[in-house]
């Protein structure tokens, strides 16, 4: 019995059912906004896998200190024709490639959603599976996909998707990759210090970050970079959106935040404001992001349940000048958030609010569609 050659991740009926419900609830959310399903390939070339990887940290995570091509991927497959392929580590790059090749020539923008497994290397013994079920959506094209409205559409769907799937207590942090650049410019951070601050933030080593910012302060004594450095100093302690905006204005870099501010206002108008906040410390792990970036957390789950952003340069790699923005939801994280919720309701003796057998009514997800 134990010698059965079973490898990888599997779900028995009870677990599979919850995931199926979440997938279909998300699919309905996306379809209601005109998104069409697409099935990207499971196997991609190593150069495709390399697009999503960050620089040094992804290579370190992979356990290959010398960083061979495709080191950030967990499995390589030797095809019969001798080509080396890999299991996809994200879906954004393959979906974007398919859109550029087959869809954008005929219509633009295209709205696509997908669901399936992605494979990412994890530390051995960490208890984190390398295969993860992901559902996501991408808005790709010219004009309509390049505006703040497109970002807003993605973020609205992010919140709606989670709400419709049954997650009630979540918080999505928003930032813009250009904003950190602008702040570092204002603080006069250059060369190694700039790189260091960036990677300390990415690795969430806020002790090192603090040391680098203090060293910057000592160098810049008396120069006009003081305001930028002040902002760097308080960056991690900014909690409310209002506080963060005030700090940005004080440092004279609020221009870079113009689109973020208008996006936040639009989300507020749609009644979703309480789920979003400005979080300047976000540095997304995938390096193809060029504008707005976000990651969201839910009570009951220790890692991000949702993430995404704008990635205008990725399409240029496939020979297109189109822009794009997208989101991806980690289904297993949604499941643990829902289980937490259920446990809470059960332990408080209240009625079970979330019931996997009862959620089969397709109308139930329309209930919370936000106004706009």
């Amino acid at each position: 019995m134990d010698s059965l050659p079973i490898w990888g991740r599997y779900y028995l009926p009870a677990d599979a059912l919850i995931r199926r419900h979440i997938e279909s609830s998300l699919a309905r959310t996306f379809e209601a906004r005109g998104y069409q399903g697409i099935v990207p390939p499971l196997l991609v070339g190593l150069n495709m896998a390399a697009l999503g990887q960050t620089g040094s940290s992804a290579l370190e995570n992979s356990g290959f200190p010398n960083g061979p091509v495709g080191a950030g991927t967990s499995y390589a497959v030797l095809a019969r024709d001798g080509n080396l392929l890999t299991l996809r580590s994200d879906m954004t790059a393959p979906v974007a490639a398919l859109a550029v090749r087959h869809l954008l020539p005929y219509s633009s923008p295209v709205r696509l959603y997908y669901s399936g497994s992605v494979f990412r290397p994890q530390k051995p013994g960490s208890g984190k599976p390398e295969e993860r079920l992901q559902v996501g959506a991408e808005l790709i094209g010219t004009d309509a996909a390049s505006s703040d409205r497109a970002d807003c559409e993605i973020l609205t769907m992010a919140a709606e998707g989670l709400i419709n799937a049954g997650v009630r207590d979540f918080s999505i942090g928003l930032s813009d990759v250009r904003l950190l650049s602008a702040i570092l410019d204002a603080a006069g951070a250059e060369g190694d210090v700039r790189e260091g601050i960036w990677s300390a933030l990415a690795e969430r080593d806020y002790v090192l970050y603090g040391e680098l910012v203090s060293s910057l302060k000592n160098i810049a004594e008396g120069s006009q970079n003081g305001l930028g450095i002040d902002l760097l100093e308080c960056l991690l302690n900014l909690q409310s959106t209002a506080e963060a905006l005030d700090a940005l204005r004080a440092a004279g870099v609020s221009d870079a935040a113009t689109s973020l501010i208008s996006i936040l206002e639009a989300l507020e108008d749609r009644g979703l404001g309480k789920h979003f906040r400005l979080d300047l410390s976000i540095v997304r792990e995938f390096r193809y992001y060029t504008g707005v970036v976000f990651e969201g957390y839910a009570v009951g789950c220790g890692n991000a349940v949702i993430g995404g952003g704008r990635y205008d340069n990725l399409l240029a790699r496939f020979g297109s000048s189109a822009s794009a923005a997208g989101l991806a939801i980690d289904v297993d994280s949604v499941v643990s958030a829902l289980q937490e919720l259920e446990q809470l309701n059960t332990s408080e003796g209240g009625e079970r609010q979330w019931n996997m057998y009862r959620r089969s009514n397709p109308c139930s997800c329309r209930r919370v569609r936000s106004r706009h």
Partner: protein, 249 residues
């Protein structure tokens, strides 16, 4: 004690925002061993109600009277595991543990206690004074050719430290404790270990030959908790930081 109410009121506020439970409690993973007492002291000074040493040693999980803050007692190397998975919102552990593991946690604060050095040490009889700098000692000549065997609890740190050495082929042997015995028993040429006073090393005839870095205790937080329980965590971090600043003055 006034501060207790401050943290708790924040926790209550955050739970009201969410109109749900879970946000109104905070769990903190503490390291067993030498860092435990200073961790408890620091948290107490920061205004939290903490259990006594004997009490927490007996129970491993300790909830403060009103159930708002829970302390979990685990091995130092396991603290980041609890925090990474979100089983604990906050944790205290050594920088050595954080460097070794490449954890996905937020490192919030250098707590200033538990200071010690990560060093390469060898048997006193085998080291030679450096020709260029008589003050410092240098690595022993390996027993066989270029191969230097290093025993350590920190294979990643050791590997990274020896990586630039083109003159040595370093073999790392992972041990789980009592490293001092390895060179004596002939298991390795050197050890890579943390040293506090250096007495244990000296007692076993070992001398430090290279210092890799200084380490100290760090406050770490789960990524999700840092967003969802931001106010409570920042309040504790701020109080801890103020105490460190006051202390150093």
């Amino acid at each position: 004690m006034e501060y207790v109410s401050a943290v708790e009121s924040v926790l209550v506020q955050e739970s009201q925002v969410a109109s749900l439970g879970m946000r109104n409690s905070l769990s903190i993973a503490l390291p067993k061993g030498r860092l435990l007492q200073p961790s408890l002291d620091a948290l107490e000074k920061a205004g939290l109600q903490v259990p006594g040493m004997d009490e927490i040693d007996r129970r491993l999980v300790y909830d403060t009277g009103n159930g708002k803050v829970r302390f979990i007692l685990v091995r130092p190397a396991d603290v980041p595991i609890y925090v990474e998975h979100g089983a604990a919102d906050l944790g205290v552990t050594g920088k050595d543990v954080l460097l070794e593991g490449n954890w996905d946690v937020c490192e919030l604060l250098d707590l200033g206690f538990g200071r010690c050095r990560l060093v390469v040490a060898a048997l006193g009889g085998m080291v030679a004074a450096d020709a260029h700098d008589p003050e410092s000692l240098k690595l022993p000549v390996p027993r066989s050719g270029h191969i230097l065997r290093a025993a350590t609890k920190f294979p990643t740190i050791a590997r990274r430290h020896f990586a630039p050495r083109r003159d040595l082929c370093v073999e790392i042997i992972k041990l789980n404790g009592a490293l001092e015995i390895a060179p004596i028993a002939g298991l390795s040429d050197v050890i890579v270990d943390i040293v506090d006073t250096g007495r244990t090393l000296a007692d076993n005839g070992l001398v430090p030959v290279e210092e890799i870095m200084q380490v100290s205790a760090r406050l770490i937080a789960n990524r999700a908790s840092l967003q969802l329980k931001a106010a409570a965590i920042h309040q504790i971090a701020l109080a801890l930081r103020n105490n460190i600043v006051n202390h150093s003055i």
